[in-house]
């Protein structure tokens, strides 16, 4: 008999006023008992609606059935059939709009905690099972993958499994992309990412760091001179957008990319043990309402800021961040200044930001995105004392590749145009997926695109 309790097993976590002073993981994960109890809430529906909500079609009811019987390794292997990075997805996927949004239990009560179960299974495997990775038999064909974020890693893993000799090129000194530079340690421990990458290397994937495709090596050279049969571009959306308002070049104004890269990739939170500093003042304004904004705000708090504000031009309902991140941010003392939009930054004589002017907004008619358009309320300007600003209003793809690759079609946002089902681009043997195609989106969508492209590349090269 299924467990018909209405609510999800709560996730054990560090107390908010403790965790907002450290960079250890916020949530500590289910115990075996909690996992089995939560698994029993799954009705094992015949038509598996949850799977339709998953961009990589994890066999959700099947893996949960393994948990019910205590076969956690069986559950892990079931997830692994379709998802290369379960420990990552269990932590950062927006389950509430994906798998869990389709769960039948969610109609009347809480849906099954699918994400929490996925994470439990992945962590259990890492802690208890020694990875035995076999190198697949080489098929004699070579594929280059550009970018080592979630999309590139997924494509690389799927191709390596099929026997391709895969080289991943990464511009930074460490592989992992946004999983390393963007998402903070307290939400996704870096050891987990590096373990997944080590597994790929054990499978034979070659990872070349410090290589900037479009600068160090061109896409055409990969195909024409270096003998790659296909290229997969998963270079992400790395170019930060700025507001374009007065005072944005003042000291103390960061892009979220710079702020988070200093903290996460360069370990600025351990300065001066690590050489890279990160300045955080007393009053921090983070502009934007997505996951990146939540990460920046919560990081600023942990680095000692007294007041941290999320400044977002729409309302709470419209915040694009995962529900859990918003909730965690509120618990940690982040103040949400909703329906407000910055209009200028005011600096002191030394060029440091000291104040920010905002204008209050109200919601008008729905816009193209279906969300109600924020409209400024005339005369509602207000000045806030602010000494650090993190601009987190979005990223677009880096132009290095599109500028150096002839015949690669891109759209007006600078995204590479690629077929959704296969990742095929306008250039022969060149595939693309993830944020470089969609614009900034989620880890799991990028993984789904990497997976689809790996399949299409395999199909093309096997013909």
């Amino acid at each position: 008999m299924p467990n018909m309790r209405a609510d999800k097993n709560p996730m054990p976590e560090q107390a908010p006023d403790v965790r907002n002073k450290n960079f250890l993981e916020v949530t500590t994960g289910y115990t075996e008992e909690m996992a089995r109890d939560e698994a029993d809430r799954c009705l094992n529906c015949k038509n598996k609606p949850c799977m339709n909500g998953c961009p990589v079609s994890v066999k959700i009811p099947e893996f949960i059935s393994f948990i019910k019987t205590g076969d956690f390794e069986g559950a892990y292997q079931k997830i692994k059939e379709t998802n290369a990075l379960p420990a990552v997805c269990g932590r950062v996927c927006p389950q509430e709009t994906q798998c869990e949004s389709k769960c039948v239990r969610g109609i009347k009560n809480d849906p099954v905690g699918i994400g929490r179960l996925e994470r439990f299974v992945a962590d259990w495997h890492m802690a208890n099972v020694e990875e035995k990775i076999e190198k697949p038999k080489p098929n004699g064909k070579k594929v280059a993958v550009v970018g080592s974020g979630p999309s590139g890693l997924t494509a690389a893993g799927d191709l390596a499994k099929r026997g391709y000799s895969v080289t991943v090129y990464e511009a930074f000194h460490t592989a992992g992309g946004v999983l390393m530079y963007g998402i903070p340690e307290f939400r996704l421990p870096k050891d987990i990412v590096q373990k997944e990458i080590a597994n790929l290397k054990a499978m034979g994937v070659d990872i070349q760091t410090n290589v900037i495709i479009g600068k160090t090596i061109m896409v055409d050279e990969l195909l024409d001179d270096m003998g790659y049969d296909a290229v997969y571009i998963g270079s992400g959306a790395g170019l930060p957008s700025f507001m374009g308002i007065e005072g944005e070049s003042l000291n103390g104004v960061y892009s979220a990319n710079e702020f988070l890269t200093r903290i996460n990739l360069m370990k600025g939170y351990k300065f001066p043990e690590y050489d890279t500093p990160v300045y955080v003042g007393k009053n921090v304004a983070v502009l934007g309402g997505g996951n990146v904004a939540m990460d920046a705000a919560r990081s600023a708090k942990r680095l000692g800021a007294e007041n941290v504000y999320i400044v977002y031009r729409r309302g709470k309902q419209e915040l694009p961040a995962r529900a859990e991140e918003v909730e965690h941010a509120e618990q940690e003392g982040i103040v949400f200044k909703l329906l407000q939009n910055p209009t200028r930054f005011i600096g002191d004589e030394n060029g440091w930001v000291k104040q920010m002017e905002v204008i209050h907004m109200e919601l008008g008619e729905p816009d193209a995105s279906g969300r109600r358009r924020p409209v400024p309320v005339e005369g509602s300007e207000e000045i806030l004392d602010i000494d650090t600003v993190v601009v987190s209003i979005g990223q677009t793809p880096n132009p290095l590749i599109r500028k150096t690759t002839k015949g690669l079609e891109t759209n007006r946002h600078g995204c590479i145009v690629a077929d959704e089902a296969t990742g095929k681009t306008s250039r022969e043997h060149v595939y693309a997926g993830g944020d470089v195609v969609t614009g900034a989106a989620t880890v799991i969508l990028a993984m789904g695109a990497g997976k689809a492209a790996a399949e299409a590349i395999d199909k093309e090269l096997s013909e």
Binding site: A171, H173, T209, G238, S249, N251, G252, G351
Partner: protein, 283 residues
């Protein structure tokens, strides 16, 4: 993968040269471009302009002035040892084709960066005047190298200890006053020097290209830390530059941004991870 230092030479008490084995970077490097290096796991990512390259040997040369934590640590890494990371080439090459008569101006360490520009212009057949300035005679670098690639070489010192006293701007003004007609001036050095060179050339409408070297992390357009206001627009030095039209730069903002992490630099020097006395066995 690490990057071997095949040659290290001390040029003056504060400036040294490192020739680094980095074949992929050497293959593509052009004057005006830069690399980003990290000494070890604890290190910052710091940009250095390409001072020279040898495509056949697969090496890239950088010239470093000891100014802060990373450069101080870098001075401790010896020939035969390795740097953990060395990525590039980054930024746009300086467009040098078509220039007929040029003044290349280097201030202090900027001289090292001016050298590959002068060399390429010379090889392209341009008439090259090089003006470089140093605080005093003991700090003069690359004299022979510059002599070999210039039609006229003027070395000036702040204290006159080499026999020529004054700033590069004064020497440039003298040449202009004497009727020299430059189609372009390329200035590389401290911000204040480049700003002042622009002040000299502006009344004559001489195109003046400067090389900016702001704080950055990735060097590929990702962090936006290197933003500079050029002609009222925000540009990223790493991908749009590092060279810009000096007459359009907002120098005041650039100088203030250059001071953003100054206090941290001092703390890093005083309390940071100490590399002195430890060999760099990154290999």
């Amino acid at each position: 993968m690490a990057y071997k230092i095949v040659r290290k030479e001390v040029l003056n008490p504060q400036i040294f040269l490192m020739e680094v084995e980095a074949p992929l970077v050497a293959r593509k490097a052009e004057p005006g471009q830069f690399i980003i290096l990290r000494i070890d796991e604890y290190g910052e990512r710091v940009p250095f302009t390409v001072a020279d390259f040898d495509r056949e040997k697969g090496t890239v040369t950088i010239i470093v002035q000891i100014v802060g934590k990373t450069t101080r640590d870098l001075a401790q890494v010896e020939e035969g040892e390795y740097l953990l990371d060395f990525a590039g080439p980054l930024g746009m090459p300086t467009p040098l084709e078509g220039i007929k008569k040029v003044a290349v101006i280097g201030g202090g360490l900027g001289t090292a960066i001016a050298y590959p520009q002068a060399k390429k212009l010379h090889n392209l057949g341009a008439d090259v005047t090089v003006i470089t300035g140093f605080r005093d005679k003991s700090l003069i670098i690359l004299e022979d190298e510059l002599k070999a690639v210039s039609d006229k070489l003027i070395i000036t010192t702040d204290d006159g200890s080499n026999g020529v006293k004054g700033f590069v701007t004064e020497r440039l003004q003298e040449l202009i006053d004497a009727g020299e007609k430059f189609d372009e001036v390329i200035a590389i050095g401290p911000l204040i020097m480049m700003k002042n060179v622009c002040k000299v050339t502006e009344p004559y409408g001489i195109k003046t290209t400067v090389s900016m070297n702001p704080v950055m992390i990735d060097g590929t357009g990702m962090c936006g830390g290197c933003r500079i206001i050029v002609g009222g627009e925000t540009k990223f030095a790493c991908v749009d530059g590092p060279d810009f039209d000096g007459h359009k730069i907002d120098w005041d903002s650039a100088m203030k941004r250059g001071r953003m992490f100054r206090e941290y630099e001092q703390r890093s020097c005083d309390e940071g991870h100490c590399r002195i006395g430890r060999s760099n066995n990154n290999a």
